[in-house]
Chain length 370, copies 2
């Protein structure tokens, strides 16, 4: 018997820039001309059926005009497309067009697009660079920092995927204007979550400037975008592999994701999250981590934003409880919830642990109330 | 417009140990008891239908005996199983059994098993640890170092995958005894390739000890395994992302992979590689990089090992040339070949570039001769 040591210690630099502004497509072209992804001249633009004509096509045209080789790969819009099958179809289409390892993927769209495109880029030719051009508020808040990419499977949400950092992220606030109203409101759910989690100032800003945000006023949209990035960055940076602190980003998601699934995606992610946040603040209040008034204030802001804070009638509450307690995060029969400490802070349950085990009975009680 | 910098510079240590020896299953159990993968107690053993009863089941039993939670996930043996579909089926089976992110994947088998299991582990829950228990000579030579994992798609071989380093590799030479003779010979193809590429001593050792290797004599098998690891390690270490030097591992593979595909996998990887190596030495001799005698000596060693060095009649040579010149490595209409300089060295075509562009006509000429 002999043994052989493979030494693979190295410094990895995955740093990247997030550009926040209005109409950033010229900036993207300029960055690529300046060598953002080195000598690569071939770009696979991945987008969905909603974003194609609005933003992806014009950007492709600009890129082609600048001498790049560009193809657009489009899949049907919606969370239901976030599957291994969509990824495989896109891969086959890229292979068909002759894409090999010397290419770069550009995701243009919302969270579903960046999730699929980022995952695809991470396994295409064992990894090609990718750029994220985020066109929705939700993608801005949720998909720009952290490098999480994934697809859903029949048995699990976001469980098959990769950590894959983009080369650059563009958050184009101008694109939000064409978002369906429901999508824009849905995007606000994560933004309000960030405020609940980490910043009373941000929470108050949203309370005071909600109309300006919903009317795409530059100062208000830039403010929330910068704060979204900053809060998520602070959390993710301190815990890149999601062992402890990063878990707090799951605030409201325990119930939210289950509702999203049980609703068969009739509810948008943010809508389901809003209900999940309502469940979470009720639970936090019940356990004494925040006052009833604070819980109500959070619920009121979600309501004012036009988001649901009650479980729709077509969802079977018992099915939801069952779904929750067969969730991936169940340990020893207890589901762990991230909870708020007032508004703008998180409960640290035990040192370094930010989720508290909750018995099925208590969770059922809250869910029956919602 | 504002911008935000995400700093993600860090030190990553993917170092691991390769254990080479006879009957290493007790060593594996002991390592896991000692905390090789930390506190993880749940193991998904991935194997194929050939290896299941021979080695995977006994290892599972030992692990269960030691108190670990273990399930075995089996797919049909063969290169044809190396697909996204097999990966998805295994994922679904693991999800069905309740596997989440706190598990470890153990690959027990040859190269196909380690390729699929390594890729699966890299994307399961965005990455769980994996251990490679290699039962074939080919896996020992090819799959133990480099971290390359991948699946095949209808349009490309090994193009969808990941770089994913195992936590430990076990090369159990005792398992080679149950390899079908054809598999064992096929495994020798990569071993001889390594010798051709980097070591005249190793080449001569194989010439002199071929019978002992084929009869699983300990000294001979350990010698070639250590040399295989060492050569591959030297190459991979110097160029982890396959930009330049690592390309030399493709020696013989340009034609070899195309033959493997065109044969519809009737030829094993090593058999196709042997023919690819014959093509490569003929080309190297034609271009003056080695003598006719050296080329013949390489071909003779492949023949003596019982491997094919001529293109089988059922393969259409024109189809093969077409396949080659639509290969992923074609640039400007020229296919790039790694070539040998004598035996035990590689041609450095231009500084840092180890592959030489070859016109379609010259490649056709060689292929017609084979």
């Amino acid at each position: 018997m002999s043994s052989f040591n493979v030494e693979l210690k190295k410094v990895v630099d995955d740093s990247y820039e997030i550009e926040i502004g209005y109409e950033l497509s010229n900036q993207l072209v300029e960055d690529l001309e300046k060598g953002l992804v080195g000598k690569i001249k071939r770009f696979a633009v991945i987008t969905d059926s909603n974003v194609r004509d609005l933003y992806a096509k014009p950007i492709c045209e600009k890129l082609i005009h600048s001498g790049f080789l560009v193809d657009m790969f489009v899949f049907p819009a919606g969370e239901k497309s976030k599957t291994r099958e969509t990824k495989a179809k896109l891969e086959d289409a890229m292979l068909e067009k002759g894409y090999r390892r010397d290419c770069c993927v550009i995701a243009i769209g919302g969270g579903v697009v960046s999730d699929i495109a980022g995952f695809l880029a991470g396994t295409y030719g064992r990894g090609v660079p990718f750029i994220n051009y985020a066109t929705t508020l939700l993608a801005a808040a949720d998909a720009s920092i952290g490098g999480k990419t994934a697809v859903d499977t029949p048995l699990a949400t976001n469980l098959i995927g990769l950590f894959n950092q983009p080369k650059k992220v563009y958050i184009d606030i101008a694109c939000w204007k064409t978002l369906p109203d429901r999508q824009m409101r849905s995007g606000m759910a994560e933004t309000i979550k960030h405020a609940c989690m980490a910043s009373m100032d941000m929470f108050e800003f949203i309370e005071e400037n909600l109309d300006d945000i919903m009317n795409f006023k530059k100062f208000a949209c830039e403010y929330i975008t910068e704060n979204n990035c900053n809060i998520k960055y602070q959390v993710v940076m301190k815990d890149e592999k999601e062992s402890g602190l990063r878990e707090i980003l799951n605030l409201g998601h325990t119930v939210g994701r289950a509702i999203e699934t049980v609703s068969e995606y009739k509810l948008l992610h943010g809508e389901a999250l809003a209900i999940g946040m309502a469940a979470e603040v009720l639970l936090s209040a019940r356990l004494g981590y925040m006052s009833e008034e604070e819980a109500q204030r959070v619920i009121d802001l979600y309501k004012k934003t036009g988001l649901p804070t009650e479980i729709p009638d077509y969802i079977d509450r018992e099915e939801l409880v069952h779904k929750l307690y067969t969730d991936k995060k169940v340990r020893d029969g207890k589901l762990r919830f991230v909870l708020q400490k007032g508004i703008g802070d998180i409960v640290e349950y035990t040192p370094g642990v930010y989720a508290r085990p909750i018995e099925e009975d208590l969770a059922r009680e809250i869910i029956m109330e919602l």
